[in-house]
């Protein structure tokens, strides 16, 4: 593979954002004109507790180079404890995926509140950078020829 084509590659990152905090945070980042890489494709969900392993794995299966799941900070959940239940599930999933050899950094989790526009941009920058370093995703990607 030539360096030119490598340089052209831009990762596609699927972001599952909770409606009340992280999505609002992304919105704030937008209206505040904080710069962040355009690699993320946002999917808005009511709560990070709504994000199931199926969704994360489906994103990887469909060829997402990275996944970001972001919800409210613990204690700030709109539904009181959705993200606290989710936290346990994410921790286990994260470990399981790394256990079977999904590269650390493919799947990422963060807490970003509605007022943290800058933090949201920072998280996206960090995730994009990590995924760029990892290169295109190959494991668990479905190939239909």
């Amino acid at each position: 593979m030539g360096t030119t084509s490598e340089n052209k590659w831009e990762p596609k990152i699927v972001a599952f954002l909770c409606n009340w905090c992280s999505y609002a945070g992304a919105d704030l980042a937008g209206v505040s004109r904080f710069q962040y890489p355009p690699n993320i494709r946002i999917i808005r969900l009511p709560c990070s507790g709504r994000v199931s392993a199926n969704m994360i794995l489906d994103a990887l299966r469909s060829g997402a180079d990275g996944v970001l799941v972001s919800g409210c900070h613990p204690g700030d959940c709109h539904y009181i404890s959705g993200n606290l239940f989710a936290r346990r599930r994410f921790a286990l999933l994260n470990n399981l995926l790394e256990f079977v050899g999904i590269e650390p950094g493919r799947v990422n989790f963060s807490w970003v509140s509605a007022s943290e526009g800058e933090q949201f941009a920072e998280v996206v920058r960090e995730v994009t950078e990590t995924v760029k370093k990892l290169g295109p995703s190959t494991r668990l990607v479905k190939n239909i020829g």
């Binding site: 469909s62 060829g63 479905k142 239909i144 020829g145």
Partner: protein, 345 residues
């Protein structure tokens, strides 16, 4: 009939030479690492170790691959070629499959009955050449002679190999088989009179042995379908069945399939893959109605299909007696007992 005699080393050489004509596959033993289809491609000039009995996975995986791509198409809406199905590109190389036991080889012919007008199966038949290996030492789970087969059977084989006193005797069954034997020039010798006689004696004893099993298909075909259908023991069998599909996926004569479309980023393919009548989804209607919604119905269907429905339609039993389902059922459901019960009813 010409019979060629190989020694072990010569066999390996010959197989390696066949590797230039196609992909040579041999049964994969558990130590050799696992492969998706249960057979491994032969890479060196070695006669593979052959353990008694059938390989872990049936030969049907070559004829009904998982998945078989029926078509490819574009899913970009509005585009002129959107959903114009394109058949897969022609494959050039044949598979030459060595070590197929008579039961498995026979399954190819049995499955060809329902697949008579199926171009994909017919093509796979054309492109998979079967080198049978007769059974000197049948296993305790084998029962091919009950189902119309024989440990020395050659149905479905292009070539049949028999191990006899440390040597391998190969005889061609089809034109394709003859062609493969031509590649043995300088490796094998023509078998002498004694060897051929020994082979014939072996076949004759095997056939005589097979006769003792009687042909249950005739007996079952004469029975009224509903009488067998309402047999009381189905419920007991179903109670223990965990409704997995191990038996059907390991069975060489289970040939049911499902068709599905898979799409990704504007590309699509229509595939078929092995399916199992043991799963409730197999018969579920879109309305929610399920004609075989109960486990007992599905268990019964599997056996009735093999032992009654298929024979009623095509003649032979849809079972070759390989014993895989007996050996690998997690709850020890034994088709031999089911046959016994149906026959004794």
């Amino acid at each position: 009939m010409k019979v060629l005699k190989f020694d072990r080393k010569g066999m390996g050489k010959w197989l390696a030479r066949l590797g230039e004509k196609g992909n040579v596959y041999v049964p994969a033993s558990s130590k050799e690492g696992k492969t998706a289809i249960g057979w491994r491609k032969l890479e060196s000039a070695e006669m593979p170790p052959v353990s008694p009995g059938v390989p872990a996975r049936p030969v049907k995986n070559f004829l009904l691959p998982q998945p078989e791509v029926l078509f490819r198409f574009s899913t970009r809406p509005g585009k002129e070629d959107s959903f114009i199905p394109r058949e897969p590109e022609p494959g050039q190389v044949d598979n030459i499959i060595f070590g197929v036991r008579p039961c498995d080889a026979r399954s190819i012919m049995l499955n060809a009955m329902p697949y008579e007008n199926d171009p994909y199966y017919q093509a796979r038949m054309e492109h998979n050449i079967i080198i049978g290996l007769t059974c000197g030492e049948p296993c305790s789970t084998c029962f091919c002679s009950w189902t119309g087969g024989s440990p020395m059977g050659t149905d479905g084989c292009d070539l049949s190999v028999t191990e006899l006193e440390g040597a391998f005797m190969a005889r061609a069954i089809t034109r394709r088989g003859e062609k493969l034997l031509e590649e043995a020039a300088g490796i094998a010798v023509e078998a002498d009179h004694d060897a051929v006689e020994g082979l014939e004696k072996m076949s004759a004893t095997a056939v005589a042995g097979a006769g003792s099993g009687t042909a249950p298909e005739r007996a079952l075909r004469e029975r009224d379908l509903m009488e067998l259908y309402n047999a009381p023991f189905w419920q007991d069998l179903a109670e223990r069945c965990i409704n997995c599909g191990a038996c059907t996926f390991l069975c060489p004569t289970c040939y049911c399939f499902d068709i599905q479309d898979e799409t990704l980023h504007g590309k699509g393919r229509r595939i078929r893959y092995q399916d199992s009548c043991m799963f409730p989804l197999f018969t579920l209607h879109a309305s929610g109605h399920n004609p075989r919604g109960q486990k007992v119905q599905r268990v019964r269907n599997r056996f009735m299909h093999k032992l009654k429905y298929f024979p009623d339609r095509f003649g032979p039993l849809s079972c070759v007696g390989c014993g895989r389902c007996v050996r690998d059922c997690p709850v020890n459901i034994d088709i031999r007992e089911v046959m016994g019960k149906l026959l004794a009813l």
